[in-house]
């Protein structure tokens, strides 16, 4: 499983040395102490995993190394020399490169322009660009990453995984010896993750030191040589990665406490079908989809990006009309014209990209929560009853275990997990029959995840159905009563009451490996 396993037995490499070291670094943002005397040491030729829940300060530490933030106190050393990293250029000159969590690419610019953006050979504004030389270096780097993209293609035309690789190419083109990766796999599918891990292996062999920031525990075992955990702005523990380091140990490192693992209760008696889809075809990718969702059932559809699951979601929530096939809800034909119509028919939707498509960033928690059900609070004159709205908000926020201090504060003052809970509260308003969710727990911490899973199952037990499109197979296996695997616009197979044992089969389903599977059985 470990793609880098061979590395441990490889020919002797130069003795690792400490290349990057932070001692007692502190940083405050307003009233928030993001870093509280954090210390860490990173060695060359290895992958140092920095674990932490959201808000633990790991991204802040990474950004201090990259020159995006300046520390309030503490010292940074690069190869034994005390340094001050005031801006991105200084970081680059010290050989530090960062692969940002939110991609730092300019979408309209070409691959080539992006890779050298800010790192041109000359510095004066009216100097001419040395495009030929840049193209040559660019090709070398892309070759090393095994990335075959046209240099002049605008970055916006690339799929997300390739953007991520361009982002890495950008760092490599700057001759980085220390590479910081901030949650690089958050938007990747499993197959793309494997490709990234392979690249990390190559970099490691070249003696590059990698600081890998994540909250995915599985990745520690997969690629890590060393692991540090951050809690509340401090690095609390550091240790080498050995087989003895179990996932449970990591969880306690990560949270500083024991976390109650979520386990799915068996589905109740077979439920009556609520939503049935037959021979569904859509322009954007469904070729022949048939599935059913029962009343009070959590159903997952799992497949790689582009397999048609996004398209299925779009059809169901009314963003796109299907070209042929039948959808029935509650025995009646279902054909939503737009999301508001879909909602009226009982179909609620929690979109994938929380920042872009979910929250109203400048508006209060209350307004974000009650966006869809304002009619519940309207009075005879058409005015809104603020008091009834507050009352519902207090009740729902409480039920959803949202941690907040005032519902009038902007939603952006909440952590990602709490924001997602608020959006969940928005989606369940007005008694929907089915809730379609895309990647419901991306970028939120373990505690909030477990809370959301529990909430979903409570609602399931009250008869609300869920259709989950998640890129996280383990999550899908954990929370769904039934799973459909999907490949190339078609449903491959159905798994009732799935368990971890179904993982391998589902993975081969979604890659379309029919023959391969036939050979095994």
């Amino acid at each position: 499983m470990n793609p880098l396993a061979a590395d441990h037995s490889a020919a002797p490499r130069p003795q690792p040395e400490v290349v990057l070291c932070a001692s007692n670094v502190s940083k405050k943002f307003g009233a928030t102490q993001a870093l509280d005397e954090a210390s860490i040491q990173i060695c060359s030729g290895g992958v140092h995993i920095l674990l932490g829940e959201n808000g633990a300060g790991k991204s802040t530490l990474a950004k201090i190394f990259a020159g995006v933030h300046r520390p309030d106190a503490g010292q940074i050393e690069v190869r034994g020399q005390a340094v001050e990293i005031g801006d991105a250029r200084t970081a680059r000159e010290l050989g530090i490169g960062i692969v940002f969590q939110e991609l730092s690419l300019a979408p309209h610019l070409s691959v080539l322009d992006n890779i050298f953006l800010g790192a041109e050979a000359k510095r004066r504004p009216f100097s001419f660009l040395s495009r030929g030389e840049e193209a040559r270096r660019c090709r070398n780097v892309l070759e090393m990453l095994d990335l075959d993209v046209p240099l002049q293609a605008p970055v916006s035309s690339l799929p997300i995984a390739q953007k991520q690789l361009v982002e890495i190419a950008k760092v490599l083109a700057r001759d980085a010896k220390i590479i910081i990766m901030d949650e690089p796999t958050s938007t990747l599918t499993d197959r793309e993750k494997q490709a990234l891990f392979r690249v990390i292996g190559v970099l490691k062999q070249r003696g590059v030191a990698i600081l890998y920031v994540t909250h995915h525990l599985q990745e520690v075992e997969l690629i890590g040589d060393f692991v540090s955990a951050m809690v509340n702005g401090r690095v609390t523990q550091s240790c080498p990665v050995t087989p003895a380091l179990t996932e449970l140990k990591l969880v306690s490192m990560l949270t500083g406490r024991e976390v109650r693992e979520f386990t799915r209760a068996k589905p109740r008696t077979p439920s009556s079908p609520l939503l049935t889809i037959a021979a569904l075809k859509s322009k954007s990718g469904c070729k022949d989809v048939a599935l059913t969702v029962g009343r009070g059932e959590i159903v997952g559809v799992y497949g790689v990006v582009g397999c048609g699951r996004e398209s299925l979601g779009r059809v169901l929530v009314g963003l796109e009309a299907h070209s042929s096939g039948e959808i029935h809800m509650d025995g009646r034909p279902y054909r939503p014209r737009h999301p508001a119509h879909a909602r009226g028919l009982g179909m609620s939707y929690l979109p994938m990209d929380r920042k872009q498509k979910g929250i109203l960033p400048n508006r209060s928690i209350r307004e974000n929560l009650n966006l869809m059900n304002l009619r519940d609070f309207s009075t005879i004159g058409g005015m809104l009853s603020r008091s009834r709205e507050r009352e519902r908000s207090t009740r729902v926020l409480d039920e959803l275990l949202v941690r907040f201090d005032s519902q009038e504060k902007p939603i952006t003052t909440l952590s990602g997990g709490n924001q997602q809970k608020v959006l969940f509260g928005r989606a369940i308003a007005g008694a929907p029959k089915v809730i379609v969710m895309e990647d419901p727990t991306v970028g939120i911490d373990i505690g909030a995840k477990a809370d959301l899973y529990r909430l979903m199952h409570e609602l399931r037990n009250r008869g609300i159905s869920f259709l989950i499109f998640s890129s996280d197979l383990l999550e899908t296996l954990k929370i769904c009563d039934r799973i459909y695997s999907m490949y190339a616009g078609r449903i491959v197979r159905e798994y009732a009451d799935p368990t971890m044992n179904d993982e391998a089969q589902i993975l081969s389903d979604i890659l379309g490996q029919e023959l391969h599977r036939a050979a095994i059985h």
């Binding site: 990259a66 995006v68 801006d87 991105a88 250029r89 680059r92 960062i98 940002f100 939110e102 991609l103 730092s104 690419l105 300019a106 979408p107 309209h108 610019l109 322009d113 992006n114 953006l117 800010g118 790192a119 041109e120 000359k122 510095r123 004066r124 504004p125 009216f126 100097s127 001419f128 660009l129 075959d148 993209v149 046209p150 240099l151 002049q152 293609a153 950008k170």
Partner: protein, 322 residues
């Protein structure tokens, strides 16, 4: 252009790519042919020279405007700065000579542009509001210095060389305009500044994180926009032989319209100088042709509005088709 020209879809892409390249020149040819058929005088050298003179100030301002718009902003103050530069320049010219006056015009433009850029970059004010404010400041200063009246007194040489001078039949104003467009085009395509302008407009945070000094480059962009106001002041003041405090009113919006007709997205990050040039020519030809054909100026205003709206809709359709 595309290095990965392997797939079968590339041909189609190249075809539609070329089609897009031909749309704006096509419209220009269409306007020229139709106008020529209705009014034969259209094709006289005299009219073409007139057309060139008429659009020169607009072309110069549009070059600067392209830079600000591609960088994700805009500059509403250019026309007012043009008027102020003209007034200041002529006042200096009458006391210290023509060269000092011209330098004053250019420096006034650069100074105001730098002021705009500094406000926008330092205080993160939206360019719309910031330049709306400086528009009024510049116009106010121009009226105060000139005492509200046009200044007609200026060295004869200034009018002779820059106003009515010509090289091989090309009026000086047209030469200045074409020169500005070519210089800005080279800046956008081949220099570090050009790459940064696109990058800042495309994604400011990405540019900043990559090590681009976003603040300094934003100031530079507006300074260059201001410089175009100075250059346009030289051209316009010498051509009309007067420095008017209320000169060029509304020209900033025409420049913006030309940039949009030229397919530059107001959201920034994309666009080309050549297309902006076409945009200016289209708007200029339209107003010139309608005048020659005898359409009333009221009707002209309306017609140009329709063209702008249609251009934006077409552009949006093209974008979503991609």
């Amino acid at each position: 252009m595309f290095q990965g020209a392997k797939s079968g879809g590339t041909l189609i892409r190249l075809a539609s790519f070329d089609m897009q390249k031909l749309v704006l020149p096509g419209i220009i040819v269409l306007i020229a042919v139709v106008s020529g058929m209705i009014e034969p005088r259209y094709w006289t050298a005299q009219n073409l020279v007139n057309l060139g003179r008429q659009i020169s100030p607009l072309l110069i301002l549009a070059a600067g405007q392209s830079l600000t718009v591609i960088s994700g902003g805009l500059d509403l103050s250019v026309a007012a700065v043009l008027a102020l530069s003209g007034i200041c320049g002529v006042v200096v010219m009458n006391d210290f000579g023509m060269t000092a006056g011209i330098i004053t015009m250019l420096l006034t433009g650069i100074a105001f542009g730098t002021f705009n850029g500094a406000i926008i970059a330092r205080f993160k004010v939206s360019p719309f509001i910031a330049t709306l404010g400086t528009l009024s400041i510049a116009r106010g200063l121009a009226l105060m210095i000139a005492g509200g009246l046009p200044i007609y007194k200026m060295p004869e040489a200034f009018i002779d060389i820059f106003g009515s001078g010509a090289v091989f039949g090309l009026p000086a104003g047209v030469i200045f305009a074409l020169g500005t467009v070519i210089v800005f085009s080279v800046i956008l395509r081949y220099t570090i500044l050009g790459r940064y302008v696109y990058a800042i407009g495309s994604n400011t945070d990405a540019a900043f994180n990559s090590g681009v000094n976003v603040r300094a480059y934003t100031v530079l962009v507006y300074a260059l926009s201001g410089l175009t106001a100075g250059v346009a002041a030289v051209v316009l003041t010498s051509y009309v032989a007067a420095a008017q405090p209320l000169a060029a009113q509304g020209l900033e919006l025409q420049a913006l319209a030309a940039v949009v007709v030229g397919g530059v997205a107001l959201t920034g990050g994309q666009g080309s100088m050549l297309n902006v040039f076409y945009g200016v020519v289209i708007l200029g030809m339209l107003s010139n042709s309608l005048t020659m054909i005898g359409v009333s100026s009221f009707m002209q205003t309306l017609a140009i509005g329709v063209v702008i709206v249609a251009a934006v809709i077409l552009d949006q359709l093209r974008r979503s088709a991609n």
